[in-house]
């Protein structure tokens, strides 16, 4: 299929600019590198950052998987997968194990990732301090001075008020002992997977024009307090479809009388478990 567009849509100058930013992001783990994000043919807020990162790292030999909410068949995942099929003619897959690049919104796959895989996150608000301090000029200073007091105060106020840290997703973490970063709106259930992951993890925020990275085998420590250690979500029941325990579950409302079921959010993992394949 000829598309009339350059390989992976972006022109070469744009890719070079993004590639330079990516290398800086990898060299300074957790630091948000500004980049001249372009208008893409999908709206800002719908994964333009992730799409620009994927377009800049993609080679013709790659196999791409795109998930949204852990699922390959959600509307936005379908749309982005189609975009790369069309503009880069790359192979695509729904199987985590077969993918060399996985672009994701809001989840990290349940199966551990490998060294030969790259995970690309779509990020809406890259600045972990943004809702505590709306000004970029101020938050930039805080990162420069490694001054994260307002974040600890916020978390501590949660504990004082609710008895818990009341952040359940986009849970802030410190990368390589230096930068506090926003792991994108993944549930905090996924935060432990960020830590010392074998795969390179790249984060793209298109509207906010930032790229950042967690290199492989890099420490990612979710913020907490000694007397209130970081914990993740747990469910009382297993997945209603595959019976798995210890996976992230979506709640599905079945009728108007409160009947509900819980199923794996990672659809590939769930499908594999049901078919009896090794889900790793």
């Amino acid at each position: 299929m000829t598309t009339g567009y350059n390989f992976a849509y972006l022109n070469e100058q744009t890719k070079r600019m993004i590639r330079r930013a990516l290398l800086k992001a990898v060299a300074i783990p957790g630091y948000q590198v500004p980049f001249a994000s372009r208008e893409m043919p999908m709206p800002y807020g719908w994964g333009t950052g992730g799409v620009q990162v994927t377009a800049s790292i993609l080679t013709p030999e790659d196999t791409l998987k795109v998930i949204d909410q852990g699922a390959d068949d959600t509307t936005n995942a379908v749309s982005i997968r189609k975009f790369f099929k069309r503009t880069a003619e790359v192979a695509t897959t729904e199987e985590t194990a077969k993918a060399s690049i996985i672009q994701t919104r809001h989840r990290i796959p349940e199966a551990p990732l490998r060294e030969d895989q790259i995970l690309v996150f779509q990020v809406p608000i890259p600045e972990p301090l943004r809702f505590l301090e709306p000004r970029e000029t101020e938050t930039r200073k805080m990162h420069a001075l490694e001054e994260y007091g307002i974040m600890h105060v916020k978390l501590y106020e949660d504990i004082a008020r609710h008895g818990h840290i009341a952040t359940s997703y986009a849970y802030p973490a410190k990368v390589n002992g230096r930068y506090v970063f926003d792991p994108s709106p993944i549930p905090k259930f996924d935060n432990p997977k960020l830590d010392s992951c074998a795969a390179l993890q790249l984060f793209g925020a298109g509207r906010e024009k930032r790229i950042y990275a967690v290199p492989p085998y890099t420490q990612v420590k979710s913020l907490d307090f000694e007397d209130h250690p970081f914990t993740i979500q747990k469910w009382d029941e297993p997945c209603a479809l595959c019976g798995a325990r210890g996976t992230y579950l979506d709640e599905i409302i079945l009728d108007d009388r409160g009947k509900r079921m819980f199923v794996c959010s990672d659809t590939d993992h769930c499908r594999k478990a049901r078919s009896g394949e090794e889900a790793a």
Partner: protein
């Protein structure tokens, strides 16, 4: 210069994408050697792997500095034609510095290291080395490395490695370094802690 010598990537979009993946991999896994053998000829003494890095990353937005041994007219013509990068005679404003072991210390000491609010404003060094498998053993630790990683190069002296250690101490400021040999590349980002045998 012949026309042949002026060709770059045959399929710019796809070949530079492949080259970049090697470079990204190298930066993400410090000290690992990745093969990078582009399919075009380059004027000596420029190494093909170093040329591939320049062609993948440099353009009119990135001033490029070359040391004296690489500032041959044929090399300058090649890089100007292929990248459009402005060639700068000064080290400080350069975004990329292309050097050899003899000039690496000078380049590293003078290159832009970024500033506290924008540590990404720093320069990147590309150092051509005779080998990535011979030479004194260095032990690397840090992001991208599962435990420890061995690293060897020829031709870079103790003063250079002292400055590389200082470079790491400046983190998050500092330069990132690509090493290019005849057939491969390796990288040491500023985040890598370098231990030398016989040194503390």
């Amino acid at each position: 210069m012949t026309i042949e010598a002026m060709t770059g990537f045959a399929d710019q979009a796809r070949d530079s994408a492949r080259a970049f993946r090697r470079m990204l991999d190298a930066m993400a896994r410090p000290g690992r050697i990745l093969s990078l053998e582009p399919d075009f000829d380059v004027p000596a003494p420029l190494l093909p792997a170093a040329a591939a890095i320049c062609l993948t990353l440099c353009d009119y937005d990135t001033p490029l500095w070359l040391d004296a041994s690489l500032s041959e007219p044929a090399i300058l013509d090649f890089l100007r034609f292929q990248t459009g990068a402005p060639i700068t005679a000064d080290i400080a404003p350069a975004r990329f510095l292309l050097c050899t072991p003899g000039s690496a210390l000078q380049a590293l000491a003078g290159a832009h290291r970024g500033d506290a609010e924008y540590p990404d404003a720093s320069a990147t060094l590309i150092i051509q080395v005779p080998s990535l498998s011979a030479g004194g053993r260095l032990i690397l630790e840090g992001p991208g490395i599962d435990g420890e990683q061995d690293f060897r190069t020829l031709g870079l002296d103790a003063a250079f490695w002292d400055t590389m250690q200082d470079n790491h101490q400046l983190f998050p400021l500092g330069c990132d370094v690509f090493f290019a040999s005849a057939s491969g590349i390796s990288a040491l980002p500023r985040s890598t802690h370098i231990k030398r045998e016989g040194h503390a």
